[in-house]
Each structure stands twice: as C-alpha cells, then as structure tokens.
C-alpha cells in the first residue's frame, strides 16, 4: 500500500521537504503537486501512474472537495482507495513510521489512523483537556 500526499500548489512537495528534514524519508509515501500549469487530467494521470504500480492507496489531501481530493475519489472506481483531507504532517510521520505500509492491506484502517493521529496533534500550548502524562504507572515507573 502507498500513501499519496497531494494538494494545491506545493502542498505535496512542501510536506515532503518537512519529512525529509525530520525523518529522511517514509517508505511508500509519494508526493504529488497540483500546480498552476496543470489541469485535472494531468493530475489524474499522475495518480494513475502510481496506482498502476500499486493498486492500494490512501490519498492524503489538503482540502475536502478540492480538485486533488475529487480526482483521488474518482480513482475509487478502479482501485482500492481511501481519501482523507485536513490531516497534518505529524499524523503522516506517526502513521508512516509506525506502520509497515508495504505489508498493510486495509486502506480504510490506515486512513482512520491518520485522522486519529491528526486530531491528537491539534492543540493550543498550555490549554489541555487530558491529564498530565508525568505520573507513575501503578506498575513500573
């Protein structure tokens, strides 16, 4: 399975540069830009190229309902595809590094994992709803 990070402008390659700095790379994650000089056919063709090599993909999109999102959803007709939008770079790192994407088989499970990790990663510093984690466990340290 693969994760395809795609969005308007340099969303894809922008996230790629962040991943590169922090982690080097994440196996089986691709990055596709939808740039000003592209039409939707060209974007769809780039998706198709990746899907021909690996028919399972989670699309990690910038916006719900935007062109990259819509073109990703159209790929559901032919391939095993899940589409998420609004997830953050933290969720991509967490899920991408914790999961062996080459072995993973359920695209919806990976999509849901991304959403859960992304939500956890949204907060205002100092304002927290959960309890502090610096507490000894009953058993252990």
């Amino acid at each position: 399975m693969q994760i395809i990070v795609t969005g308007h402008g340099n969303f894809g390659t922008g996230i790629e540069s962040t991943v590169k700095l922090l982690a080097g790379s994440i196996p089986n994650v691709r990055y596709v830009d939808f740039s000003a000089d592209m039409n939707e056919e060209k974007l769809a063709a780039q998706f198709e190229e990746f899907l021909k090599k690996d028919s399972k993909a989670v699309f990690f999109c910038d916006l719900i309902g935007g062109t990259p999102y819509k073109q990703a959803v159209y790929k559901k007709e032919k391939y095993e595809v899940a589409v998420v939008a609004g997830c953050n770079v933290g969720s991509l790192l967490e899920v991408g590094l914790q999961t062996d994407l080459t072995q993973a088989s359920d695209v919806h499970e990976i999509a849901q994992n991304l959403i859960v990790a992304a939500r956890t990663g949204i907060q205002e510093f100092g304002v927290r709803e959960t309890q502090t984690l610096d507490e000894a466990d009953e058993d252990g340290i």
Binding site: L22, L97, G121
Partner: protein
C-alpha cells in the same frame, strides 16, 4: 525490580523535539520517554513543552534528574519500552557509571558551540566530549552517530 527495558538511548542537545518525539519514538516503538536531565527536571516550561510532544505521540514521559534516573530506573515494568534521552556525553557517562544498563548509545544532535570541532553535519565535540565518549567505549557501550533512523550508523571510535 530488574533490568529496565531501555530500547534506545540518545544524546540530543534539544532533548525531546519533533525529530525525537515523533520520528524516533514512532520508529523504535517506545511507549515511555525518560528525559534524564537535571535542568529539565526542575523546569516546568521545558516539561510542558516536551509533554505536548509526548502526548501527541501517545506515549508517557518522565523528567528525572541524573541521580534519580540512576537510582530508580530499575523499578520500570518490563512492558515499559523506554526511550532514554540525555543532553550530553557527560550525562550519558554519569548514568552508565551510576549503573544504568545502557548498551547502545545513539549520538544525535550535538550542535556547534564555541570551541567545538565538527565530526558530522550535526555533531560537534570538544575534548571533554571526546574523553567522555572514549570512557563510554571503554566501558563497553556501543556509541554511534545516527541522526535519523534510515541513516547509516557511524561508530564513534572511527571519528574521534
């Protein structure tokens, strides 16, 4: 009581930051970050900042002085997969001499400061650092430089 399950020990002068809290923690499958640092053990702001990262990654975090780490880490439960983070080679040496069972030591960020010479892109050392590394190697610790998990390890004894 017993041998704590330390899955990785890393020297990083930023302690827990994005790369450590997310990238390394996710890659090695740790569920507890133990920051062994005397200043952090006393600083609420530092603790709050590093806790935010740990919380996001869904792992526990402790901030202990070097002394407390040496005396208390053996109480860890076997299911606690510990990622131990220290700031300097001196602190790592202090823990090893205090009896903490560190077998492998990952050298991450040791950024430039005055009087330090460069070993790799992210690692700068002075004589004091080199001496601490040599002592750690003599004590049988496998010390290597590796910034991110996919990068190849460079044995410290090959570069100092």
């Amino acid at each position: 009581m017993g041998t704590p399950n330390i899955i990785l020990t890393r020297i990083d002068n930023r302690l827990v930051h994005g790369q450590v809290g997310v990238v390394w923690t996710s890659s090695i499958g740790a569920n507890l970050l133990l920051v062994a640092n005397d200043a952090a053990a006393k600083s609420e702001l530092q603790q709050e900042l590093m806790s935010a990262t740990a919380e996001t990654s869904g792992v526990g975090i402790r901030f202990w002085s070097l002394e407390k780490t040496a005396t208390t880490i053996e109480k860890a439960s076997p299911r606690q997969k510990i990622f131990l983070i220290v700031k300097t080679p001196q602190d790592a040496l202090n823990l090893v001499q205090g009896g903490v069972p560190i077998t492998d030591l990952n050298v991450g960020n040791m950024h430039y400061s005055e009087g330090k010479v460069q070993l790799t892109k992210k690692v700068y050392v002075d004589q004091n650092d080199k001496d601490s590394f040599s002592k750690l190697v003599d004590l049988g610790v496998n010390v290597y430089i590796q910034d991110v998990p996919e990068e190849r390890k460079i044995a410290i004894k090959d570069v100092i």
